[in-house]
C-alpha cells in the first residue's frame, strides 16, 4: 500500500491496483463517492478493431451498447439484495445513486447525507463485485437500451453530437453508449458476463470520496470491501482516428444544428491551461466572444458554445450552434471566424474575467461533495495524481495574456470537422472572411 498525503487529500493505492482518494469536507452535511472502473464503451471492441467514421456503420455494430447493458445488469440484484431491495436500501439511506458507461470507464456515483457513506460503500461493493446478472431480466434490460436508442433519435442535438464524436475520434473512442439495430438482436447474456469478468476489477480503477467523512475510517472500510478484489489490466490507451471534412444529416427540422470539432491538447499538457483560458475567453460566460458576437450582437442563435474535451494523450474542442436554416451559413461563418481569430485582439480584461470565474467556481466547489469527488477522480485518471485547489489557483493566476496570444496565434485552428443536421448542408470555405464583418464590442 503506497500512501501520499497532499494537504487534507489522501491518496492510497491498494495492492490490487484500486486507487482510493479521500477529501474531508467537515463543514458539509453530505458526502459523495464516484467509482471509475475500466468497463467503458471503448472496451466493447477487441483491440485491432479500430476504424474511422467512414469505415464505421453504427447501426450494424454488433457490440454497440454492451458497456451500458453490463452497467444496467450489475444493478439488477447483487449479494443478498434483489433489484428492488437495492433500490429500497438506497432510498432508505437517502442515497441518490447512478451508474453509467462513459467512453473510458464505467462510472458509479452517489450523493447522500454524510451518515450513510459507509453503508453506501457496502452496497456499491455488492453491485460491482457480486452482481447476480440474472438471465431472467436480460430481455428487460435490452428493452431499456432499445428505449434509450429510440429517445436519442428524437433529440437532434444528441444525434448531431454522436456523429461529431465519431467523426473526431473514430471507433472506439468516438463510440456512443447506445445500442444499434444489430446489437439489440445479437447481444447475449454471455457477452455481458464476459465483459463483466474482463472489465470489472480493481486494476486501474479509482474510487474518490469527499464530504463530511472520517478519512481513516473510510479508507479502512474501502480496504475491507475492495482490498481482496481481483486485479486486471487498465483500459489500453487508444489513438483517435479522425475523419476530415463535413458531414450532413438531413432532417426537416426547424433549426439547422451545427456541430464542430478541432484537435487541441489534453489536460496535463504544459500548455493546457493557456489553451483552456482561450476557450474560456471564447465561450465561458455572457461576455465571451461567441455569446457576444454571434448571439448578442447579431441575434443569430439562442445556443452557441465551445468546450474542451480531454482523454489521456489527446484532447479536442467541441462546439455547437443551433439556428434557423436561412441564417445557418452566416452562423457557421461567424462562429468559425471567431475561433480562427481567437489569438487576435486579446485583452487582459478578458483573461481576468475568466480567471475570476474559475477562482469563484473553485471556492464554490467547496460546497459540493459531488463536484469534489468528480474532480479527484478526473485528476487521477488524466494526470495520475490529484491537483489541490491551491495548486490549480496558482497555475490559473500565473497565466499571462501574452502566453494566451502566443498559444492561439501559433495554434490557430484551421482544420474543423463539421457535422450539420437540418434541411440543407452548409459549406465551409477555408479561411474565408465572414460575409458580414464584425463590429467591435463597445
Amino acid at each position: 500500500m503506497s500512501v501520499s498525503v497532499d494537504a487534507s487529500i489522501q491518496s492510497i493505492t491498494l495492492s490490487n491496483g484500486l486507487t482510493v482518494l479521500c477529501q474531508p469536507m467537515p463543514w458539509l452535511r453530505t458526502a459523495s463517492y464516484t467509482m471509475w472502473l475500466p468497463g467503458g464503451i471503448a472496451a466493447e471492441i477487441p483491440s485491432g478493431g479500430a476504424c474511422s467514421a467512414e469505415q464505421y456503420d453504427a447501426e450494424a455494430d454488433p457490440l454497440a451498447g454492451l458497456a451500458s447493458l453490463t452497467c444496467e445488469m450489475v444493478q439488477r440484484g447483487a449479494g443478498p439484495y434483489s433489484s428492488r431491495d437495492l433500490v429500497a436500501a438506497e432510498d432508505n439511506l437517502g442515497i441518490d445513486a447512478s451508474g453509467s458507461a462513459a467512453t473510458t470507464q464505467a462510472v458509479f456515483s452517489a450523493a447522500m447525507p454524510a451518515e450513510s457513506i459507509a453503508d453506501s460503500l457496502r452496497l456499491l461493493a455488492e453491485i460491482v463485485r457480486r452482481p447476480h446478472l440474472p438471465q431472467s431480466q436480460f430481455d428487460d434490460a435490452k428493452m431499456m437500451l432499445h428505449q434509450e436508442r429510440m429517445a436519442s433519435l428524437d433529440e437532434p442535438t444528441q444525434r448531431l453530437m454522436k456523429q461529431l464524436r465519431m467523426t473526431q475520434y473514430g471507433n472506439p473512442i468516438g463510440r456512443s453508449g447506445l445500442a444499434s439495430i444489430a446489437s439489440l438482436e445479437s447481444l447475449t447474456m454471455d457477452d455481458v458476463r464476459s465483459f463483466y469478468d474482463n472489465q470489472y476489477h480493481a486494476g486501474g480503477s479509482f474510487i474518490a470520496i469527499a464530504g463530511n467523512i472520517d478519512v481513516s475510517v473510510i479508507i479502512e472500510e474501502v480496504d475491507s470491501l475492495f482490498g481482496d478484489w481481483k486485479s486486471g489490466p487498465s483500459m489500453p490507451q487508444q489513438t483517435p482516428m479522425p475523419t476530415d471534412g463535413n458531414h450532413h444529416l438531413t432532417l426537416e427540422s426547424s433549426q439547422t444544428h451545427i456541430g464542430f470539432a478541432f484537435d487541441a491538447i489534453p489536460y496535463g499538457h504544459d500548455d493546457y491551461f493557456t489553451m483552456r483560458s482561450g476557450i474560456g475567453i471564447l465561450s465561458d460566460g455572457m461576455s465571451s466572444r461567441l455569446f457576444d458576437r454571434v448571439r448578442e450582437q447579431r441575434g443569430l442563435c439562442y445556443s452557441v458554445w465551445a468546450s474542451t474535451h480531454s482523454l489521456p494523450g489527446f484532447g479536442s474542442v467541441f462546439g455547437y450552434a443551433g439556428t434557423t436554416p436561412p441564417r445557418a451559413q452566416e452562423t457557421l461563418d461567424v462562429t468559425l471566424h471567431e475561433i480562427r481569430h481567437l489569438g487576435e485582439g486579446l485583452s487582459t480584461d478578458e483573461l481576468d474575467r475568466w480567471k475570476t470565474r474559475i477562482q469563484s467556481s473553485l471556492i464554490m466547489e467547496q460546497e459540493s461533495a459531488g463536484s469534489r469527488a468528480g474532480s479527484l477522480a478526473s485528476d487521477q485518471f488524466q494526470l495520475g495524481r490529484v491537483m489541490t485547489t491551491d495548486e490549480l489557483e496558482r497555475v490559473i493566476e500565473s497565466i499571462t495574456i501574452d502566453q494566451v496570444r502566443d498559444y492561439w496565434q501559433t495554434n490557430a485552428p484551421d482544420q474543423f470537422r463539421i457535422v450539420t443536421l437540418g434541411p440543407e448542408p452548409l459549406s465551409t470555405p477555408p479561411h474565408q472572411a465572414p460575409t458580414h464583418p464584425l463590429t467591435q464590442t463597445p
Binding site: 428505449q147 429517445a151 441575434g299 442563435c301
Partner: protein, 426 residues
C-alpha cells in the same frame, strides 16, 4: 422603514432568517448562514405568462432577455461583462407566474452584485436591442420546435388551462413575437415590475444589514414608475397561432409522447405533502410503482407522475414516452397502477421509503445557498411566508398512509385531459 424581523434557527446560531418590507413595498428576505462559501441572490418578480394579454403573449420571457440589455448607467456589454467579472453563476428564467434573475457569488462581491442586479431592474429597453433580441427569441422557439416532448407539454397545459392564464405559452408564438412592439414591452414592464410585485431574496453568506441599506437606496426611484393604462380584455376566440388539437403530429418522431393533466393541489393546501409523497411512491423516475412496471421492464422510456402547484390551483401530471405501438398497452398498465393504489392504498414501508428519499433530497438540496434560494424567494413572493428545511422535513415526516390514500382517492383517478404527440397522431 419597518424594522426588520429576525428569527434564528432553533438549532444553530450561525443561521438566521430575516426579512423586511421597504417603504416602496419591495420585500427583502434572507436565509443567512455565515459559514457558507457563497451568497446567492435573486430578484423574484410576479410577472409570468399568466399575467399577459393576447398581444403580450411571450412578453414576460422576451422582457427577461431584454433586462440584460443595459440601463441608463450600463450598456448591454457592460451588464454581461460585469456579471462575468463577479465570477459566479448568473441567469434568469420565466415561468407561468414569475420571472427570476439570480446569481451566486463569493461573499466579497455582495455589494457589486446588488448594485448590478438592482440596476438591471431598471432597463433601457432600447428599440435596436429589441429588434436583435426578437431574433434570439424566434430561434429559441425554433429550438423547442425540434423537440417533440416540449410541444406535447405546451399543448397539454394550453388545452387543460385554456390558451390564456396558466395555459399561455411562456415563449409566446411566432406570430405574437413577430408582432410585438417595444412600446408594449415598456407598458408591460411598468405594469408588472412594481416594487410591491417584487422580492429580493438572498441566501448563504449574506450581510443582511448592508444588503437592506444598499437596496433601499438603489431602488428608491422604483416607486415613481408610471402606471400603465390597463389593456382591453382578451376576446374569447382562440389567439393567433394557437391550436387546441389534442393530437400533435411530429412527423419525424420515433417515440410517442403522452401527457395527461387532472386536477391537483395549489401551493397552500395542506395535503400537498401527502400528494407529493403519493407521486413519489407511484411515479418517481426510479423505484416507484410505475418504474418497476414500465421502465425496469423496458416497456417505456419514461412513465412518471408528479404534482405541479401554482398559487391558486394545481395539476396532477402524467408523462409517458414509448414506441407508438405500445402506447395503448402502457396506458392500461399506468391506469392499473393508479387503480390499485386508489383501491388498496400503499404499504407502510413504501411510504417510509418515499419519506426517507424525499427528506434526504431536501437536505442535499438545501446544502448550497443556491439550492435554498428559489423555494424561499418564490414562496415569499406568492405567500409572504417561509418553510424552513426543518419545517419541510417535519411536514413530510408527519404524512401517514391514510393521508396518502385519501389524496389518492380524491385525485388519482379523476378524469384527465390527454395530449399525444407522435408521428402517426392523426
Amino acid at each position: 422603514m419597518i424594522a426588520p424581523t429576525t428569527q434564528s434557527s432553533k438549532h444553530d446560531t450561525d443561521t438566521q432568517f430575516r426579512h423586511v418590507t421597504l417603504p416602496s413595498g419591495l420585500r427583502v428576505v434572507a436565509d443567512i448562514d455565515t459559514r457558507g462559501y457563497s451568497a446567492a441572490m435573486g430578484y423574484f418578480v410576479r410577472a409570468g405568462a399568466r399575467d399577459e394579454t393576447d398581444p403580450e403573449s411571450g412578453l414576460s420571457h422576451f422582457l427577461e432577455h431584454m433586462m440584460f440589455k443595459g440601463t441608463e448607467r450600463r450598456s448591454a456589454a457592460d451588464v454581461n461583462r460585469e456579471l462575468d467579472e463577479l465570477g459566479g453563476q448568473s441567469n434568469a428564467f420565466t415561468s407561468e407566474e414569475q420571472t427570476v434573475y439570480y446569481a451566486s457569488v463569493i461573499p466579497k462581491y455582495q455589494d457589486r452584485l446588488v448594485d448590478l442586479l438592482s440596476d438591471m431592474m431598471s432597463p433601457s429597453l432600447r428599440d435596436e436591442d429589441f429588434e436583435t433580441e426578437r431574433q434570439v427569441i424566434l430561434e429559441e422557439i425554433a429550438k423547442y420546435e425540434d423537440q417533440p416532448p416540449f410541444g406535447a407539454f405546451e399543448r397539454s397545459v394550453e388545452v387543460y388551462f385554456g390558451p390564456r392564464g396558466l395555459g399561455r405559452r411562456v415563449l409566446g408564438t411566432v406570430e405574437s413575437i413577430e408582432a410585438m412592439t417595444a412600446d408594449a414591452m415598456r407598458a408591460y414592464f411598468h405594469r408588472r415590475y412594481r416594487p410591491e410585485n417584487i422580492v429580493l431574496a438572498a441566501s448563504g453568506n449574506v450581510d443582511f444589514d448592508a444588503l437592506v441599506r444598499q437596496v433601499t437606496s438603489a431602488t428608491q426611484h422604483w416607486e415613481e414608475r408610471p402606471v400603465a393604462a390597463a389593456l382591453p380584455p382578451d376576446p374569447s376566440s382562440l389567439p393567433v397561432g394557437i391550436s387546441q388539437d389534442v393530437r400533435l403530429s411530429a412527423p419525424d418522431a420515433s417515440q410517442a409522447y403522452r401527457v395527461t393533466i387532472q386536477p391537483g393541489l395549489n401551493m397552500n393546501q395542506a395535503d400537498r405533502f401527502a400528494m407529493r409523497l403519493l407521486c413519489s411512491v407511484v411515479g418517481d423516475d426510479g423505484g416507484s410503482r410505475l418504474f418497476w412496471d414500465l421502465i425496469d421492464t423496458g416497456r417505456a422510456e419514461v412513465a412518471t407522475l408528479w404534482s405541479q402547484e401554482f398559487t391558486d390551483t394545481g395539476g396532477l401530471f402524467t408523462y409517458l414516452v414509448c414506441g407508438p405501438d405500445d402506447l395503448k398497452s402502457n396506458q392500461k398498465l399506468m391506469n392499473d397502477v393508479f387503480r390499485r393504489v386508489v383501491d388498496s392504498g400503499i404499504e407502510e414501508k413504501e411510504l417510509e421509503q418515499a419519506i426517507n428519499k424525499t427528506v434526504a433530497g431536501c437536505i442535499m438540496q438545501s446544502e448550497r445557498p443556491s439550492g435554498r434560494l428559489f423555494a424561499m424567494g418564490s414562496r415569499w413572493l406568492f405567500c409572504n411566508d417561509r418553510l424552513s428545511t426543518d419545517d419541510l422535513l417535519a411536514a413530510y415526516r408527519s404524512v401517514t398512509v391514510d393521508d396518502v390514500q385519501r389524496v389518492a382517492r380524491k385525485y388519482l383517478c379523476a378524469e384527465a385531459m390527454e395530449v399525444i404527440a407522435s408521428a402517426d397522431a392523426n
